[in-house]
Symmetry: C3
Subunit: 364 residues, 3 copies
Amino acid sequence: MRLLLQEIRRSPMLWLLVFVPVVFAAKQTRPEAHTMLFVLSVLAIVPLAALLSHATESVAAKTGDAVGGLLNATLGNLTELVIALTALRAGQYMLVKASIAGAIVTNSLFMLGASLLLGGLKHRVQEYNRVGARLQAGLLFLATIALLVPSAVSKADDIAWTDFTRHLSLGLAILLIVAYGLGMLFSLKTHREFFGSSSHAEEGEAPWPVSLALAVLAGVTVTVALVSEIFVESVQEAAKSFGMTQAFVGFIVVALVGGAAEMASAFSGARKNRLDLSVGIALGSAAQIALFVAPVLVLLSYFIGPAPMDLQFWPGAVVMMLIATLTANLIATTGRSAWFVGVLVIMVYLIFAMTLYLLPPRTA
Amino acid sequence: MRLLLQEIRRSPMLWLLVFVPVVFAAKQTRPEAHTMLFVLSVLAIVPLAALLSHATESVAAKTGDAVGGLLNATLGNLTELVIALTALRAGQYMLVKASIAGAIVTNSLFMLGASLLLGGLKHRVQEYNRVGARLQAGLLFLATIALLVPSAVSKADDIAWTDFTRHLSLGLAILLIVAYGLGMLFSLKTHREFFGSSSHAEEGEAPWPVSLALAVLAGVTVTVALVSEIFVESVQEAAKSFGMTQAFVGFIVVALVGGAAEMASAFSGARKNRLDLSVGIALGSAAQIALFVAPVLVLLSYFIGPAPMDLQFWPGAVVMMLIATLTANLIATTGRSAWFVGVLVIMVYLIFAMTLYLLPPRTA
Amino acid sequence: MRLLLQEIRRSPMLWLLVFVPVVFAAKQTRPEAHTMLFVLSVLAIVPLAALLSHATESVAAKTGDAVGGLLNATLGNLTELVIALTALRAGQYMLVKASIAGAIVTNSLFMLGASLLLGGLKHRVQEYNRVGARLQAGLLFLATIALLVPSAVSKADDIAWTDFTRHLSLGLAILLIVAYGLGMLFSLKTHREFFGSSSHAEEGEAPWPVSLALAVLAGVTVTVALVSEIFVESVQEAAKSFGMTQAFVGFIVVALVGGAAEMASAFSGARKNRLDLSVGIALGSAAQIALFVAPVLVLLSYFIGPAPMDLQFWPGAVVMMLIATLTANLIATTGRSAWFVGVLVIMVYLIFAMTLYLLPPRTA
């Protein structure tokens, strides 16, 4: 407990934890103040995500490389998973899909681009290990193809197609999880020496004892789930009052909130000229969403949602995921970066964000 | 003749030749047993394709490098060409187009991916000559663009567009053949030293004398044509009884049957750590289908088909060809491989195969 | 003045200047002879563009590298800009858009491909600096994404969408100009040592004195504007009498006319084995059209056009720009070339040109 408090004292982001009780109190006293609840829940999720991330890494550090890598790989996007599960249980499939697509696009464009820019502003030219970046970019490419196929071949207005899309989505979900598992086998076991040190933990940062880490993991996951419920309930109304489209909220806001903790690590790595770390977090996180979180949500929708969820996305989202993946692949093949590369990648993200922000309200 | 028998004794695949008389007998006695005829014709085509391939290489080995390369390049996909011609004469344009698209996708994803996987399971990291792979991938890229343009700009339901698509397809067919010819000039004549030994013949395998090879070439081509007729007639009915969609049969089954002989060579090359050979066969064969077989079919449709054939494909097939080409280009630029690269490429193929298998029956 | 005359005597292309008075005279005497006026205006624009290009470089050479680079970068496509402005003022938005898309495609496919082919016919293998090519290809990639987004997400037949497309186009125009500015900052200031000598001026060619250059710049710009008016008025009627579609004229003819001067420099550089120069001109010019000319036209349409212009393109044009960009990016990553690479790139251009030529008259 002292270690936890010490951690909180050192990291300014964790001071935001004060908003966790505040958001629950606000929910009790003013359940109709959607905009306020939305803002408070965002402020509460960000530090919880940071705690979750640190707890996962502490457990991973103790359990040895193979199991640790596995843990990092499966729990690394726990926040996104919990938020999406809450939306899934509420039957808000459009929000679930938008947040999947948004997390892929945000991680592989904004997180990557901002890392390259921040690193490039401090260091003239930065080099990084291409092997890891290529693996993640390759997995991302595979996943994007899987996610675009149902949208590419389906015709929406037909009963036969609904069944087809559902079966296809189930099959694709299984293929993606298998590919993800084989990718871990490859990078953590058979060819691990090619991937260098991809440990997320910062140097000089002591990991927590396992018991504390496990307790935090359990407690914080539950808390995130509770806050997520307030977040999902309030997000639609809040979006209206901010004049934001639903698509913008799902794609941009949810993705930025869910990924805040990882972004902090990625940006700090880039400033310290450890671009391997930043590129690994950004592309690894995007690949994890696409190959693990998305399929798990499809599978779980058969048990906890009101109806099975398919992987048919709004065509605009498919185009955006495809371009994000292509950009990540082009970047990953070079292995060198300067500030302008970051600008280019961020610009692509801004183009998408602007498009979603301006979209007429009725769509996607 | 003794050499031919010796060859048959040594190669287990050629024992399947026994199905050639069986399929003709079955056709006479039970012309309505479509499923059985389909299975028998598949079993008969596979060894015939292997013979055809060996005969072509034997002639090529005798005629010197330039003419030999030309022969290999034009007759290398003779089986696919004969099957497609049979379907063309029967007016089954959908099957012809599906088998073109399917051969491109199967060769550049399944044959390539399985080679990389099989090689990678035996050898930790494999290197290969990028120059040859890039030429083939570049040609494939060009051809895919040519094949997607008619589908991208046309609107189906308009008389003016039918004429347009037909003229455009004819023009594209001529452009593709010219590009293919120039590509051979480049790789066999002006810059041949960059391409290394791309001989398909296995080491230690004695080529046949030219007279035997030419006789086998002529005789087997006629036999393949006759068996193809049974295959094309029975494939639709058989598909129904197996619960397979037409698209799946054209795309996957025909392509796997037609390419079986080349796959055997590619896989054996990969196991022997001669990945140059495998990548060359896979991408070269895909490029040949796209730049030689497809345009030749368009040109011949003016003489032997019931009506001119155009190059307008089902949109899903266009997407699949495009992704297959893009994947091949991404792979070809690296020059190194490990088992997981093969897994990624095969996964893309499985995504497509699953999509086609699940497709509702009425579509393409 | 003597210098100007000397220049004209030396360069055969400038003899075409005689067509400048001829076209004005013809306009007065036979205003209905559209085909003749079209041909004469083309013949008059080509040498004017060459003069404009030489004047810009002379000013740039005198003003030092940074300002000079800026001048080259903004005025390098002055001819295209003036032609497009004339069409914009006449409210011919379809022609404006076709000429933007056409200039991007023509520069990044035909100018690049013909340079690689011409260079490759003389030199066995040519190498070039990849850093500059990559920057331009990256900028082009960004711009193409910006230009395709409005077409990808919009539905044409809806009032809400018209407003959306207009706002989005305005936002995108601003983003593109910012990206272009940052790109110049990067290549001319912070990381200039990576880009080598990208001076367009031919060796041994004396720049003009600044006063002459400025006078030529002003005078010729006005003349180009006047000739452009005749060109824009006559182009539609002339197209009909040549049996060319509108799309072909906008895409191919206008782009070839506007880029003639740059093509002359690019081809001559390639023959002299200075492929850096050729690739820089081709991709730089395409990037400039996409990131500077196109957004400036959108912004100016609010002041001089009958109505604001958006960036929604005909879907076929979007596909062509996307493929041109992808091709340029694939080429730019290699850094080596032989004649066949040029053939491949030109073939892609021919596929597009043929498609546009055959297009039924009613479309785009």
